[in-house]
């Protein structure tokens, strides 16, 4: 199908984008890479009155090293994220996003704002404790990713706010493992593990409305428990539902296995 008609505004600045969104009174939508929004428009699951294209806003596509971590402008494309060398965990996760043609267009800000709980970047953001930087009519604000994600495809973003950058702390050690039936599909289960400031953090995608942090499993991991115990604890902490792709029980079993895989390279030290 074809999208329903809309007005199109090519924003030249963050201020203009925010102003246009505010004027749209809730009927505006931000167009970044479009890899999730365009299908939604084509299927007419959404009919925004105004599309605010942010692709030409200068300065939003920068990758800036910050305290060992990295600050990604909202317009950093997945293809570039996959090849950058500042943050290996982000590079690995980006390689799992869709297909090459999707990664050419898809953006960091778009993925975070879309907040699909089965998408790679939200899971990595939750695992690292990333900070989302947001511009609105009242100025800038920032929020920790796990607070920013409010539910499936839901965030705390107001109708007239725009994600401008996401700051990902460095991981001293990390692992990423994803299970999908076909290459490029959204993961049925995906796991990001990251040691940040000496503490391991885990985030699991595909098993809830937002990326899930299994806090008991994290505690066990930081206390030096074996990987099997950590994996079992993580599986016990998630409550995945049945859907057309997999049963909840299956997703729980895969959670244990993919926590194991994400941590496998660090098995000995994590268990020491």
């Amino acid at each position: 199908m074809k999208p329903a008609p809309f007005d199109y505004v090519r924003a030249g600045s963050v201020d203009e984008a925010v102003r246009t969104l505010a004027e749209a009174g809730g009927e505006g939508k931000v167009l970044a890479g479009g890899q999730s929004l365009m299908p939604v428009l084509a299927l007419r699951m959404a009919r925004p009155r105004v599309l605010v294209d942010v692709n030409r806003i200068p300065g939003l596509a920068t990758i800036t090293p910050v305290d060992g971590g990295v600050r990604l402008g909202a317009l950093v494309r997945h293809a570039r994220l996959a090849t950058q060398q500042n943050h290996p965990l982000l590079a690995e996760a980006a390689r799992w996003i869709g297909h090459t043609a999707i990664r050419t267009r898809g953006t960091t800000g778009g993925s975070i704002a879309h907040a699909d709980p089965s998408a790679e970047l939200p899971v990595v953001a939750a695992a690292l404790g990333a900070t989302v930087h947001i511009a609105g009519p009242g100025g800038q604000r920032s929020e920790v990713a796990t607070d920013f994600f409010a539910g499936p495809l839901e965030t705390t973003l107001a109708e007239d706010e725009l994600v401008t950058a996401v700051e990902f702390p460095a991981a001293e050690r990390w692992g990423f493992a994803e299970f999908s039936r076909r290459h490029g599909d959204f993961g049925l289960v995906l796991v990001a593990a990251a040691q940040v400031d000496g503490r391991w953090r885990l985030a699991i995608g595909g098993v809830g409305g937002v990326p899930v942090r299994p806090t008991e499993a994290e505690q066990l991991l930081n206390d030096g428990a074996g990987i099997d115990a950590v994996a079992a604890a993580a599986a016990a902490e998630v409550r995945p539902q049945d859907d057309i792709h997999a049963s909840g029980d299956y997703r729980r079993a895969m959670t244990a296995e993919f926590v194991r895989r994400a941590l496998a390279p660090h098995g000995k030290r994590a268990a020491a």
């Binding site: 199908m1 074809k2 999208p3 043609a101």
Partner: protein, 155 residues
Amino acid sequence: MRAEFTVNGTRHEIDVEPRRTLADALREDLGLTGTHLGCEHGVCGACTVLVDGGPVRACLMLAVQADGCSVSTVEGLAGDDGTLHPLQEAFCTHHGLQCGFCTPGMLMTAVDLLDREPAPDRERIREELSGNICRCTGYTGIVDAVEAAARELNP
């Protein structure tokens, strides 16, 4: 709304509704029907074209977003005298197509792959083509074709 971009080196200026996708603009406004539309929501890969050198789903990009860009489509692969591109030749030789509907997207995806990686192995070829759906061939002929074209282009 006006948009100006080049397609296979030729400059075009069109005046379209903002909701016009790049794929529809190529087909309907410019008459370049080599770019095929299958699913129209980014799943099948049939409409894959190159924009500023990178592969994109032409159904997931608005024509007005291509303003100022350089677009390459399947029509630009063969030489002016009709000589087929080595990938097109290889698709013929290795039975890389049957009905041909997915072929333009397959070709443009393969062009991009061989541009980035001169000698991908079969595993890599399959991985890179995994975003393009073919309902005829079972893919084996397509993988054979891309592998053969890689050898031809980068002996």
